[in-house]
Amino acid sequence: MGLKAADSIEIGHELAPRVKPIAQRQIDCYSGVRPKSIHTDAEWAKKKGFAAPLAQGLMSTAYVSQMMVDFLGEGFVRGGKISASFIKPVLAGDTLTMHGAVKSKEAEGPHTRVTVEFWCVSQRGEKTMVGTASGLAA
């Protein structure tokens, strides 16, 4: 094991899309169930104007982490970065598809920092989150 070879990574390479159906029970596990929560109390979420409870934005960053660990392995666990902007809320019952493409490779000390541009799209075709994630390659 070790860092992935930077030479094996091409700019523009698209990572395999990752499909994530999000069930209420998963949101419950992630956020912890409590009353008067827009994440886990359906009635409260409706009162606040949402059709269903919202998945925490952090859940989507975990999907980015998964994509990057699968792509760069150790180079993401130690040295990884995520910068995400949230655009639309994600609701219980939504299915997200996470996309990523290699944007750049830049020298960083003895390593190469590989930056991936990512975007997350719901089944409604809306972008819910965009940003960049990066990690180290040899």
Binding site: C29, K48, Y63, G73, K81, F86
Partner: protein, 146 residues
């Protein structure tokens, strides 16, 4: 005693510091997180390149996010931006704590935001495991209910 106030743009002060409770990472926490985000990578349950299992890099995000709750009642506020930097692998058995500081607050297009930087540390070694920044939407003045 902590006197909890409802958080708002008017109440939050730039420079204000937060400190989470400490948290012992248990194997069941790693398993629950794996279920919640449907990520069962073998490094989180078996051997990893670091010797023994590690945890998901984002596992402790909620601890950092919830720092504000140690002082404020938080009405529903949505995230605008999140930044993470993963410095060291996280492992079950670590006792961890997050430290944060409000570094900015601003109004943009009629909405109000606070920016908090944070570092999550292994309490035993003092090593910073994760650091980053949250930009969160908050209400302007006094409000009630989440």
């Amino acid at each position: 005693m902590v006197e909890f106030k409802t958080i708002s743009y008017d109440v939050v002060q730039v420079g204000e510091e937060f400190r989470s409770d400490d948290f012992l990472i248990k194997p069941e926490d790693v398993e629950t997180f794996a279920y919640a985000v449907d990520d069962h990578h073998p490094w989180y349950f078996d051997e990893s390149p670091y010797g023994g299992p590690i945890a998901h890099p984002v596992l402790l995000g909620n601890q950092a996010l919830m720092m504000r709750h140690s002082r404020y009642i938080i009405p529903a506020g949505l995230h605008a931006k999140i930044q993470f930097e993963f410095l060291e692998p996280i492992r079950a058995g670590m006792r961890v704590r997050s430290y944060g500081k409000v570094i900015d607050k601003f109004e943009k297009r009629g909405r109000y935001y606070m920016v908090t930087e944070f570092a999550t540390k292994d309490e035993e070694s003092g090593a910073v495991l994760v650091r980053g920044q949250f930009t969160q939407n908050i209400f302007k003045g006094e409000t009630h209910g989440a």
